[in-house]
């Protein structure tokens, strides 16, 4: 694992997610793709056990830095990233439609888990599930197209099983 490249990538993705990605926001709820979640899925299916744990929790921490409540995304990204890495030992996720489906499911589950964890500290939000669904769909459509440049940047030739 090339950790310096990983750190640069995460910093860049976090900055983009916080600012520039508003350009691509759609609908009145400003639904935008979750770049950090796409990265989490990419690393979970590209790395082995220890690396997958570190990358998942670290990306979750980065997502918390630009979110409202600390800890929620770190936990949801970490748990789902590790689960996905373990699942990937059994099921290969190589075709783009499969990757899109995985991103959608993981994004939706992470969104719901994060929302429930947020409820421990703050009030419930109307339309939360609609926003999570929209964001998951958007991420699923965009995500698979980013996997190739990400593989190139991280010098990962083939997703490991």
């Amino acid at each position: 694992m090339r950790w310096i490249r990983f750190a640069v990538l995460i910093c860049l993705a976090t900055i983009l997610q916080a600012g520039l990605l508003n350009l691509f926001a759609v609908t009145k709820w400003s639904i935008k793709p979750d770049l950090l979640l796409i990265l989490m899925v990419f690393f979970a299916i590209s790395c082995t056990g220890r690396d997958a744990i570190i990358t998942s929790f670290t990306i979750g921490f980065a997502a918390d830095l630009i979110g409202s409540t600390m800890g929620t995304q770190m936990l949801s990204f970490g748990l789902l990233g590790v689960a996905l890495a373990n699942l990937h030992r059994i099921i290969a996720i190589r075709k783009m439609p499969h990757q899109a489906l995985v991103i959608f499911i993981i994004s939706f589950l992470a969104g719901v888990l994060c929302y429930f964890l947020t409820l421990l500290k703050s009030a419930s939000a109307p339309n939360a599930y609609a926003v999570i669904f929209g964001s998951s769909l958007y991420s699923a459509l965009l995500g698979p197209f980013l996997f190739l440049p990400l593989s190139w940047w991280m010098r990962i030739k083939k997703p490991k099983r």
Partner: protein
């Protein structure tokens, strides 16, 4: 001293990270917020550039003969605030009958701040501004833009502060509507709602909603939004279900002003 390399098992690593996540989750927001503030402070330049690019892409064609929508809204808000102030002053005059009073915002000062990041429209509606404790900003102070209240300073560090917008789903602020006080809660999608208002109160679309005055924090009611939808509650027809939208386009803002009532002079 020899360097001893330790190998942590994957399970142990997972438990440690999980524990770290739980600590972050249950630690006080004031403490964990410092991480967010530090990130914003370190990367404030690229974050500002990113926001400016997204703002620049939304710039509309300049209008020459007519006043812009933003300027129009700004002036409308100013009129609404003045009307409310005038009404309040009239009431004071009637009550005090001759006692000398001063203009309510006479002692207030405004701290101008640039927006570093903005998260609007989604579930979380928050701004990060480039003013903090060293600029004498305090948590709970009201943040204004285009002559209207847009949020409250929620989290603060030495050089940056977070502003919880009125549309954030964690935002609950006392407001005046139809000459009565109610709590307005954010909905998260650039709107807020007011419940528990009886239908006996006359409310219609377009009515102004004012922030309730809070002595020492905001001494005069100030416009916060307008009623965008007003219908009877589906579960209880005796109550209104009111949707309020902000009177300024928060996502297009580049700077805001923090209202400091009766500042202490050095």
């Amino acid at each position: 001293m020899a360097w001893k390399q330790t190998k942590i098992s994957a399970k142990m690593l997972f438990v440690w990270f999980l524990l770290a996540g739980l600590i972050f989750l249950f630690a006080p927001q004031q403490l964990t917020g410092k991480f967010q503030s530090a990130f914003t402070h370190i990367f404030r330049l690229p974050l500002s550039i990113g926001r400016n690019i997204s703002l620049a892409s939304n710039i509309q064609q300049p209008l020459t003969d007519i006043v812009s929508r933003r300027e129009y809204n700004k002036l409308q808000n100013h009129i609404a605030n003045l009307t409310q102030l005038l009404e309040q002053e009239h009431k004071k005059n009637e009550q005090l009958s001759g006692l000398r009073s001063r203009f309510v915002l006479e002692g207030a000062s405004f701290v101008l701040a640039d927006i570093i990041t903005a998260s609007t429209g989604g579930l979380e509606s928050e701004l990060t501004i480039n003013r903090g404790e060293i600029d004498k900003i305090k948590s709970g102070q009201f943040v204004l833009a285009d002559n209207s209240v847009i949020g409250i300073v929620s989290n603060i560090s030495s050089r940056t502060a977070h502003v919880r917008l009125i549309t954030d789903y964690n935002s609950k602020i006392p407001v005046q509507i139809a000459k009565t006080s109610r709590i307005m809660q954010g909905c998260g999608n650039n709107s807020a709602m007011i419940n528990l208002l009886m239908t006996t109160h006359k409310v219609k679309k377009g009515d102004a909603v004012y922030i309730d005055k809070q002595p020492g924090i905001i001494d005069a009611p100030m416009i916060v939004g307008t009623v965008s939808e007003c219908k009877k509650d589906a579960q209880n027809p005796l109550l209104w279900d009111i949707t309020v939208e902000p009177v300024c386009q928060i996502d297009k803002l580049t700077s805001v002003a923090i209202l400091v009532m009766n500042p202490q002079k050095n």
